[in-house]
Structure formats: C-alpha cells, structure tokens
Amino acid sequence: MLASLPLLLAQTAPVDPAVQASGGGLTRFLAMLVSGIALGAIYALLALGFVIIFKATQVVNFAHGAIAAVGAYLTAYFAVTLNFPGSLIGGPRWLQWSLSAVVAILMTAVVGLVLERLFIRPMIGEPLFSVAIITLGIDILVRTITDDFIGTGVRPVGDPWGAGIWNIGGIRIAQTQIVTVLVAAAAMVAVAAFFRSRTGVAMRATAFDQEAAMAQGIGVGRIFALSWGIGAALAAIAGIFASVFPRSPGVMATTTAFFAFRAFPAVILGGLDSVGGAVVGGFVIGIVEVAAGTYLSPYADVLGVGFQGIVPYLVMLLVLLIRPYGLFGTKEIRRV
C-alpha cells in the first residue's frame, strides 16, 4: 500500500464539470458548495464507518477502502451484470437499481462480519499494533480478490441518473450529487438512531469500558462483529457513490479502493474516536477539496494539475499541528 502512495496522490478527483459550467461569482460558489457537500458526504460515510470500528474495537482498519470497493463492485455486478432483483420484480428503473444496491450493501456488511470473525476475533487481547498490521493484510487480500473480479476495465455501477444535471437558477448540479447527499443523510440519521437503541447503547458502553460492559452481560464479541458489519455497510454506500458521475465512470481495480484513503484526513481532522467529528471532518475535507479544485485551477501552471488532491492532507497536517487529537477527539495519550 505504501509503495503505491504516489499513485494514490496522483489520482485525484476530476474537477466537477457541473461546477466548471456554472459561470462565475455566486452561482459558481453555490455549485462548488453543493459539489463539495456531496463529496464530503462520501468522505463522511467512510470516516463514520472507520470511526465506528475504531471506537468499538480500537482497531485501525486499513482495509476500509477495499471493503468500499467490494460494495461498489457488488452493486455493479447485481445492477448491471445480473440485474438482480430488478429482473424478477420489474418496477421503475431507479427502484430496481436501489434494490440491487441494497442487496450489495447488505452483502458487504456480511463480508465485514466474516472478516471480523476470521481475522480480528482471534486477535482480541493482542497488541493493537499487530491488529492494525493484520488489517493491512486484509486490505491486500480483499483488494486482490476484488480487483480480479473487476478486471482491467471500468465497471459502471449502472445508476439511473448517469450524467444528468439539474439547472436550478443557473446553478448546475449533478443529479447524483443530490442523491448522494440524501442517501448519506439518511444513513447518518439511521446510525444516530441506532446509537439510541438497546444494541447501540450497548455498543457505546462497550467502546467506553469493555470489562464493565461484559459485567452487564453484553456479548462483547457480538458487538465487535456488529461494528464491522455497520462499518462495512457504510463503506459500501460510500464506495457506490464514489463510483458514479462526476467522480468516476465506474468501479476500477485498486483506484476505487484507494479512494477511501482520501477520507483519512477527515477522520484525523474530526478526531479518531469522535463519531460526530468524522461527519464534520468529512464535510470540511470535501468542501475544501472541491473549493481548491474550483478556485485554484487557474494557477495550475504553478501548483500543478490536481493540486486539490493534496489539499485535504495539508488541512490534516495543519490540524495535527494545532490539535493533535483532532477537532473533537478525546484529549488523552493513547498507546498504539
């Protein structure tokens, strides 16, 4: 993974054509803002899943991007290749696609559960550093298998909105971006509601004090598995929307998996152990990145093309200099 870091940095989000076509001044700013919020929603989902896994199990999950790619690939497979379950039940195009996506997301959640059971559960009680290295291994394993399924080409996820653009008073907004924001908002509300439920409260309790949670009769192993399931499902949603217009023409080997690493600045920005911080960090990074792409493009001859790709990391560095535990993270010294 580290060897391919230059590739990771070189591969940056394409400048949103909708924003570029939105003229200048305020309209351009608003179009940029919407585009940034949409990108931020994807980062926020990735960061949220990452933080949920980290909080519940103290595991830094380097396989998060690979899992996101699994979700995107499965959606492409079910929606485009199989047309399942759409071909069985019919109905409007968007409904068929959504059902395929739901099936893919649920299957990705199962992949998360299986990964936890196979590789993470036996490591309970081992040093966290070892577990983090194991997730690096999981990343390579899952990515290699998914890459093999994806093949060398680009696999469109087959979303019904395609390159459609809405023009609202001169502000041009890609339809997929509105969908992204709505779906992400729904997912975040669902996560917030889950944290108020019986199991959700148990998960927060486990995250705070495992032994005390066990003393209450909470099955800590089940909570661990569940956190991986939820994390994987959120990663899958993010992976799907990272693979649609205008970000990417579809699922691509390695590229889609590495996209998720760009959410890492969002996690650090918000604080590794802050669920709210992950969401805020995601949106901040998304907006900053699109703003940089929009307003810095005239200086491409100085800064180089794709400068917006490193802006999130600059923000992350800046935050780490001032608040090493992130904007909302717990102020404590943690041994990793």
């Binding site: 409260v201 148990a202 927060r204 309790a205 705070f208 032994e211 005390a212 003393a215 009769g217």
Partner: protein
C-alpha cells in the same frame, strides 16, 4: 445459592492467586468476604462472574455452582442471564453515557419490557438521587452518585445474587452509611449479596456470615456477629486494641507476630 469449591486461579499461567478457596452464599443472605490487599478477593469475584479472561486468568481447579448449575467455565453474559450480577470495583460507570443509558445497559440481558420497567421503578425508588439526574451525563456526577448508579445498573437485570466489590471505596463516612443501608434494603427485597470490603466494620455489621481470606485461601469464617467479637479480627481488621486507654508498648504490639499466620 452460590457454591464455590476448592477454587484455584492462575494468572498468566504462572501467578497462583487462589489456592483452593471455598465459600457459600445462601439464598437471601448477605455474606462478607474480607481480606487484606492482594489476598485475592477481586480475583474470586472475577472467577464467579466470568471476567477472568480479560485479565489472562484461568480457573485451573475447583468449581463454581449457582442454583445447582455449573458456571465454572460459563461466559460472562450467560452468568448474568442466570442471575449473578457484579458491581465492579471503582464503580466503572459508562461516563460518556447518561444515567438512563447506563441503566439501560444494565438491563441488556433483560428482554421483557415490563420487567425492565419494573426494575427501573425499583432503582428509582432505591435511589431518588438518580431520578433527579436521569438525563445528565454520568461522568459529571459525584462519587457517591456514581456508586449508586453502579449498583442501580446492576439491579436492572433483576439479579438473584448481587456481588459488590468495595462499594464504600473512596466515599465519605456519611455516604458509606447510606450505601450500607441501601445494601440492607436490596437484601430485604430478596436479593442475596456477596460483599467485599476493606471496611470490615461496615461489612460485618450488616452481614449474616463472613469469610476472611489471606493469600488465596479462606483462613477464618463464621457468623458475622462471632467474627465481630473475635479478638484477632478486631485487632487486624477493626483496629481495636484491647481496653480503652490502655497504653501499648512496642513489646506488646509485637505480639501480633505470634499470630501472623492463622490456622484454619
């Protein structure tokens, strides 16, 4: 009824902490387990409530039976389901959660809504203080309130046996009395109690039976009243030395050496 027989516990495969400990907690009674630091009191509790794994401990010999069922190797969650609930030493409340949420975690194993509501009412009756602070974040409460919350949380699953690890730890004398009265109340409502304490006076004053342990073994046991009157217990745990006003010379004090090891 809880029956612990000849329990041997080893930490990290080498550190022998309990060497054949036996004790019984009959239904509806309060039993006190006393001992100096490092005697193995907390280890005994961990073994009973299935929390040894977390600390790399293993039960190598002996058995624990609760209501006739063998729970020696049972998982913590199953033990809670059977009706043993432990209040951990140092309260260990979930500081980031609200009081209500803390109580809900205590009711995790209890899926019957009506019974959860009943337990909640019971806890609120026992601890009116918690009722006032239902929505506040648990970490901001005082030590006494946190201890009440820890006991209340344990009661939420309606346990048959409540295991308390030093409930008076770090509390002001007035609060210790309050906690003491609450333990008596809980016991009167039909819950058996196994109580670990450094505060031997408080523990024995409310217990029916007492065990005294030293280096992983029970060295003395008997009716709580009998223990309270015992000369050795008075000297080593209650801090009483003979007649009042009697000055002790160092030579007199030294005589404890003669009794440093009790024969059981």
């Amino acid at each position: 009824m809880l029956e612990v027989a000849n329990l041997e516990v080893v930490y990290n495969d080498v550190i022998l902490v309990l060497r054949g400990l036996s004790l019984t907690v009959p239904d509806g009674k309060i039993v006190a387990l006393l001992g100096a630091n490092g005697a193995g009191k907390t280890t005994t509790l961990r073994a009973i409530s299935g929390l040894l794994d977390v600390h790399e401990g293993d039960i190598t010999k002996g058995s624990i039976r609760f209501d006739g069922e063998d729970v020696t190797e049972a998982a913590a969650s199953d033990i809670v389901r059977l009706g043993i609930k432990q209040v951990l030493e140092g309260r260990r409340i979930f500081a980031e959660l609200t009081v209500d949420e803390n109580l809900r975690t205590g009711a995790y194993t209890n899926k019957d809504k009506q019974s959860v509501t009943d337990s909640y009412e019971r806890v609120m009756d026992l601890f009116p203080r918690l009722k006032e602070r239902r929505k506040s974040v648990a970490g901001y409460m005082s030590g006494g309130e946190q201890q009440m919350l820890a006991i209340g949380r344990a009661l939420m699953s309606n346990p048959k046996l409540l295991v308390l690890d030093e409930p008076s730890l770090g509390l002001a004398p007035l609060l210790v009395q309050q906690i003491r009265d609450i333990i008596v109340d809980i016991n009167k409502q039909g819950t058996s109690v196994l109580l670990i304490e450094q505060n031997a006076n408080m523990a024995l004053s409310i217990s029916d039976y007492g065990y005294i342990m030293e280096t992983g073994k029970i060295v003395m046991d008997g009716e709580a009243k009998k223990l309270l009157g015992d000369e050795d217990v008075q000297e080593f745990y209650l801090g009483l030395h003979g007649e009042e006003g009697e000055r002790k010379s160092f030579r007199d004090v030294k005589h404890y050496k003669r009794r440093k090891r009790w024969l059981s």
